[in-house]
């Protein structure tokens, strides 16, 4: 089969960017769309053109590296599937596919289909953990965890941090991503002591990053490759409200949402700002 790919090309953040059309013949229906891009890139290199920069690593749908919009849908048309697992047999012979990067203020474009998602790391750093240092843990069976709690926690913990939820959301809200972590940890007895703090810190960081707010549209869960349910957002809001009340005497600090890259020689200090 053959396809036409209209791909967003942008050299760097300063560049304005544009769509460029490419024909790819000889497409094997068994290849993934990333392998189709590999084939295109080999051809571009041979023609002395720059290959398309796109992110990928595991190619098994688990690392969360890959992701772009295909004809306006994050990760393309197949439910619960990342682009690395999306095979070409799901498209018609001769199809025209429009590929563009995640678009959100908090995900600045690096090049072509590649964006900077470090804002997600900072949301986790703000509170997406259980504060237990190595060596201080009790026996694994000391605190029983009901099977249902473990199962629900696992449902939420399956998030791969790809960012499709943000890309699909008209407000560019990461509520599904943040909610997934809050629901995962908060559902387990081990994570209960920090529930309030976790929610208010993660939400504060989310706001500091310049993401939009959630207005319950639900596009996110529709494109999520791990089918994270909307309930996690309700859970986030619940924990946030209770947390804000109980912790109202405490100051919440956030990290600076930096977009520059540090190269070394010196240690970079996280600037702490008060929100």
């Amino acid at each position: 089969m053959r396809v036409t790919l209209k791909i967003w090309r942008q050299t760097n953040r300063a560049d304005k960017g544009r769509f460029v059309k490419y024909q790819v013949g000889d497409v094997n229906p068994d290849m993934s769309i990333l392998e189709c891009l590999d084939v295109l890139n080999e051809q571009l290199i041979e023609r002395d053109e720059e290959p398309v920069a796109f992110e990928h690593d595991c190619r098994e749908g688990i690392c969360g590296s890959c992701g772009f919009m295909i004809n306006g849908v994050a990760h393309g048309p197949l439910p619960a599937t990342t682009v690395c697992q999306l095979t070409m047999r799901h498209f018609k012979d001769g199809a025209e596919l429009l590929l563009e990067p995640w678009r959100a203020r908090a995900f600045p474009i690096i090049k072509d289909l590649t964006v900077d998602r470090r804002s997600f790391d900072r949301i986790i750093a703000a509170g997406g953990y259980i504060s237990v240092s190595t060596g201080s843990a009790p026996d694994g069976n000391a605190i029983p965890v009901p099977k249902e709690a473990a199962d629900r926690a696992m449902d939420a913990a399956a998030c791969i941090g790809c960012g499709a939820c943000v890309a699909a959301c008209p407000n560019a809200s990461p509520a599904l991503f943040t909610g997934a972590k809050i629901a995962h940890l908060g559902t387990l007895p081990q994570g209960a002591p920090e529930r309030d703090r976790r929610a208010i810190h993660m939400v504060a960081q989310m706001t500091a990053e310049g993401f939009g707010g959630c207005t319950n549209i639900g596009e996110c869960t529709g494109v999520c490759p791990k089918e994270i349910p909307l309930e996690v957002i309700a859970r986030m809001n619940h924990d946030f409200i209770w947390g804000s009340w109980r912790e109202r005497d405490n100051v919440v600090t956030t990290m600076r949402p930096f977009t520059e890259w540090s190269t070394g020689s010196k240690f970079q200090i996280n600037e702490q700002e008060t929100d």
Binding site: G64, N141, T263
Partner: protein, 637 residues
């Protein structure tokens, strides 16, 4: 070179306690003054960086992905072993130790393996406390399953995503330290050289993959947790970015490379379907519990499997290994698949595949049971191949999966370069010639959470670190080397892409240094690799510049290192005149075709020293002694 393994004296069960007691401690007030570099944010690197940060050291952590959470550990499916004996089925630290030494075909260090088994217990506790959602029983206790032929049920798991959940636990601990200011994370940053000053490691040279800037990072100790080198083969179950650059460049700066030819081939992967193929997908080994493996009796039989009558099928594993049947260990199952395909009896379009058939199991247990047991795997198979395994037998073929070899380390996980520690799959330490299922995750976390934080402290407390800066000639030299390599790769402007070379290299290594090897083939491979490498440096085409995101340039540097490593693998395989675990030399097999070790001559770790490209590397041997588990011939008949 004399290798000092620094194994503590005394009974095996007391060695680690003794070692920890003998270690010097760093005064808490001084910890902040020591900077430590951790390269890698997988289970090994991530857990080490987080723990060192908690202890108060000044840590910088590096990974080439855009986030530390994406390290390849994320892809591990099956589970993690621990000698908890929660099932009361006779497991113990000693049994896990025994199984691992035997599974490694008696080519691992006993003291290290024993320590691994001891620590396994603490790992589970730590991970549970971090919120890893392990599978549970209705009563709320942890669930287990059996894995990889073990007779006890000691594998802990989180659905089919154990690696993901363990890594997220380590990642969250790491991000907590980033927030606390004790760890600085450098994502999208690749280590390209090691800085060694006056015989001690003092830092690394990096390239920022977005800006192309070359950076210098100085420290008092460097820890590499950069994963395995399976991608030498081009097609493997590793992630596309997995590479050997960090360990190879450290090797060139003096770290010995141990047992490079010990690589593991996993029997149940989805076969290659075309030239465009970029990677191979693993199907869990558990499928062999209920699936039956067969090929047609006749050569070149192209009939669809359902039309081949029972008496014209060869269930070759059941025929050759009546007592273990389809459950023989990974290396045996893989090798036999190769044999039947070499005979021309392989199936599928490429004829490189064998059937894994569930029709008997479906008949016996019903479709529902099979769905419950393997539903997600069947779905994955169908998604990739567009075939329904409930109706037609799956096609599987072996693929490279794990590398037991790696940088040589002593009991303290320090390489032959003082101050350079190596953890996780990047080192050679615990799995000998063959790794058992569910034990890599255990090793990575054991190294990172519980071993290296102590042993690095001991090193720091015992050494002095004169102050250095970027103007040091060794620093300049390392930076110049990195810049030259990049410039050279960009300037060749030849005719062939990096991937086309990598594919060809992978094919050579797979054909001659894969599932079975022989001296003549290895000689041939070494010659072919050299020729191809020469061509590479004259004819590779790397587009773009070094001053921005350039994925071709990243690959080009990694493939350059794979060439040299591939040659060393072949040299090591040719030098080891015996068969052991994943290393099967056709000349050394028993009368009935099984691997034959030669304990009298090869009971050692082969550690290779770099002597400049084109010069034969220097071999140092660390003899292995087995005081507790006595070497015996493995038999699965």
């Amino acid at each position: 070179m004399e290798l000092k393994s620094r194994i503590p004296s005394g009974p095996i069960q007391d060695k680690w306690d003794k070692a920890r007691f003998d270690m010097k401690l760093v005064n808490p007030a001084n910890k902040r003054k020591h900077s430590i570099i951790v390269v890698g944010s997988g289970l090994a690197g991530g857990s080490a960086a987080a723990t060192l940060g908690e202890l108060g050291y000044k840590v910088s952590c590096f990974c080439f992905q855009d986030s530390p959470r994406r390290a390849h550990s994320i892809a591990a499916q099956g589970g993690i072993n621990a000698a908890k004996n929660y099932q009361n089925d006779g497991d113990s630290i000693y049994r896990l130790f025994y199984d691992t030494v035997k599974g490694g075909d008696f080519r691992a260090r006993e003291a290290n393996v024993y320590r691994l088994a001891q620590i396994s217990v603490q790992i589970i506790d730590q991970c549970v406390a971090q919120g890893v959602p392990f599978a549970r029983e209705y009563g709320g206790t942890l669930a287990n399953r059996s894995f990889g032929g073990a007779q006890v049920s000691r594998t802990f798991y989180a659905r089919g995503q154990t690696g993901q959940q363990l890594l997220l636990g380590a990642y969250q601990a790491l991000e907590r330290q980033v927030n606390a200011g004790s760890v600085t994370m450098y994502p999208r940053t690749e280590m390209l050289d090691l800085i060694v000053i006056e015989g001690k490691v003092r830092g690394i040279v990096t390239r920022n993959l977005v800006t192309g800037d070359i950076g210098i990072h100085l420290a008092d100790a460097v820890i590499l947790g950069t994963g395995g080198y399976g991608n030498v083969f081009y097609l493997s179950t590793n992630a596309k970015g997995s590479n050997a650059t960090a360990i190879w460049r450290a090797h060139k700066r003096g770290a010995l490379f141990a047992n490079p030819c010990f690589t593991q081939i996993h029997p149940t992967c989805i076969p290659v379907s075309g030239d465009y193929q970029s990677k191979l997908t693993l199907m869990s080994e558990s499928l062999r519990n209920d699936g039956r493996i067969w090929v047609p009796l006749k050569k070149g039989d192209k009939r669809p499997p359902n039309q081949i009558p029972e008496q014209e099928r060869d269930y070759y594993l059941e025929r050759r290994y009546p007592s273990f049947g389809n459950l023989v260990p990974r290396d045996v199952a893989s090798r036999n698949a190769k044999y039947v395909c070499d005979e021309g009896r392989g199936v599928g379009e490429t004829a490189l595949g064998v059937y894994l058939d569930f029709s008997d199991a479906i008949r016996r247990l019903g479709r529902k049971t099979i769905e419950e047991r393997y539903g997600n795997l069947f779905d994955m198979y169908q998604r990739i191949t567009d075939e329904d395994p409930y109706q037609v037998p799956m096609r599987i073929y072996p693929a490279i999966h794990y590398t037991m070899g790696g940088l040589w380390v002593d009991y303290n996980l320090m390489s032959t370069v003082p101050g350079l520690f190596v953890i996780g799959e990047a080192n050679f330490s615990d799995h000998g010639a063959n790794r058992l299922g569910a034990s890599a995750l255990m090793q990575g976390l054991s190294d990172g959470y519980f071993i290296v934080p102590y042993t690095v402290g001991d090193y720091l407390a015992n050494n002095k670190f004169p102050s250095i800066d970027e103007s040091d000639p060794e620093v300049r030299n390392a930076v110049a080397c990195v810049q030259q390599t990049i410039q050279k790769l960009l300037s060749i402007n030849g005719k062939r892409t990096v991937d086309s070379f990598h594919r060809e290299l992978g094919k050579i290594v797979w054909d001659y240094c894969g599932m079975s090897r022989n001296a003549q083939g290895l000689e041939h491979a070494i010659e072919r690799i050299r020729e191809l490498r020469d061509e590479y440096w004259q004819n590779v085409k790397v587009p773009g510049s070094g001053a921005d995101l350039n994925q071709s340039l990243e690959k080009a540097g990694r493939v350059a290192d794979f060439f040299e490593l591939a040659e060393l693998m072949c040299i090591d395989a040719r030098e080891r005149n015996e068969s052991a675990g994943g290393h099967f030399r056709e000349e050394y097999q028993t009368a009935d075709g099984e691997a034959q070790r030669d304990d009298d001559h090869y009971s050692y770790v082969a550690a290779w020293g770099y002597r400049g490209y084109g010069n034969y590397p220097e071999l140092s041997k660390e003899p292995l002694e087995f005081e507790y588990v006595h070497p015996a011939q493995r038999s699965y008949k």
